[in-house]
Assembly symmetry: C2
Homo-oligomer: 246 residues x 2
């Protein structure tokens, strides 16, 4: 049995997230359909993360075991022929037998994009959130605020309230907020993320920009371990999985 | 009566071009629906050009006359509320009574985008044409070839064969082909364009890159005035109307 690691890119607008669901197109299902067409077999595939409906990935990793002897290069081409235009296989390589796309991951880089302009942009629809208020989000100020997330913390307050996760301690390696023209990018790298954690961290920073959450309160919110003290969950379509580290 | 010039941006994937059609959504119809909601009237609108199904516009201009006294700034906001996310009004201003979005135009800038990479990109789908062959389109070579289009010529050979247009003389001010990473951009500015002219000029350049049309033959093709000597009509989705000059 070969263990393969496949890197894909997908436009999240077309899918209800990664995980297979009844009656809704998901990336996993779409990818397995392509595998089935090429391998005449439907291997169990492991994705590097759950992703919410509407979230896109510049780089998403999938591992699966197969008896197939098709060389990786040919597999890339054959899968791309069998995938819709909303998904592309970028790379394929053979990995150790115990490699697992999710559990072997050492970390991830997410970017959340906010278009802070008076008028929305049809070309960026689905990959950004349009945020016309306040007129000018101060990215430098938010960049300083975001530094409170960096380090090893219990992120229980920044987890979707419906989730039960025993270990809520995670390490954020970096959190940078940058402005480029009307676009504000929230770049966050960490060893792992709780459910909705990036969207709640970004939503909290935007609430700080709006003044509905006090400045310099992120450390207190973390310490409270209470979801009610953190901010809004920012909408899914602004989120992009940029890179997975192994 | 005020004469208004409105600048819009639209994602061409959502529309069957500008001009109103039976049973197919068009930009004109969508824009008139928004006008009707705001003005309680459906003025006759003039678009700066016909655009093919699937072609997008970073800047498209529309003029129309109205008795409405709504200030331009408020009109921008109200129209945007009433438009789908695939269209945005960027600007609105009052112009002279004899101004006409199409006939007053002094020229236009189009860009045609080709993704010259082994693997297609889901994020660029609909705004580019994926062209994996030949492995490396030589943009500098095509840039030199494209210079034969510059100047005042009879472009009859570069007009859709089904079209009857008396005057087929047009002036191309500039034609530049640039590569940026895997993206090749064909930028062309001219005083006016015949039906499908940009797509046929780009298709001819790509045919020259492939070797199916001889190098340095553009002047001869122009002189022949015969559509059969020019190349393929490049697909609509690579084309973007970038700017309209008045």
């Amino acid at each position: 049995m070969r263990n393969l690691l496949v890197t894909i890119r997908f436009d999240g607008r077309a899918f209800h997230g990664w995980q297979v669901q009844q009656n809704a197109p998901t990336v996993m299902q779409t990818f397995q359909d392509a595998l089935q067409a090429v391998l005449k077999d439907r291997p169990d595939v492991k994705g590097c993360s759950r992703t919410d409906s509407g979230v896109s990935a510049r780089m998403y990793c999938v591992s699966f075991k197969t008896e197939s002897t098709i060389p990786c290069k040919n597999l890339i081409a054959a899968l791309n022929v069998n995938l819709p235009k909303t998904v592309a296989v970028l790379d394929c390589r053979e990995v150790e037998g115990d490699f697992h796309a999710r559990y072997s991951s050492k970390g991830k880089h997410y970017c959340y994009r906010v278009l802070n302009s008076r008028i929305r942009d049809p070309f960026l629809e689905g990959f950004t959130v349009h945020y016309p208020y306040p007129k000018d989000i101060d990215a430098e100020f938010l960049n300083r605020q975001a530094k409170s997330f960096v380090g090893t913390h219990d992120f229980k307050a920044f987890q979707n309230s419906g989730t039960v996760m025993e270990d809520t301690v995670r390490t954020i390696h970096s959190f940078n907020v940058l402005r480029s023209g009307d676009m504000i990018e929230f770049h966050v790298c960490g060893d792992g993320f709780l459910y909705n954690m990036v969207r709640i961290m970004v939503g909290t920073l935007i609430d700080i920009a709006k003044g509905s959450i006090a400045s310099d309160s992120i450390s207190d919110i973390l310490a409270s371990k209470d979801r009610k003290n953190a901010g809004t969950t920012a909408p899914a379509q602004g989120l992009m999985l940029e890179e997975v580290f192994y």
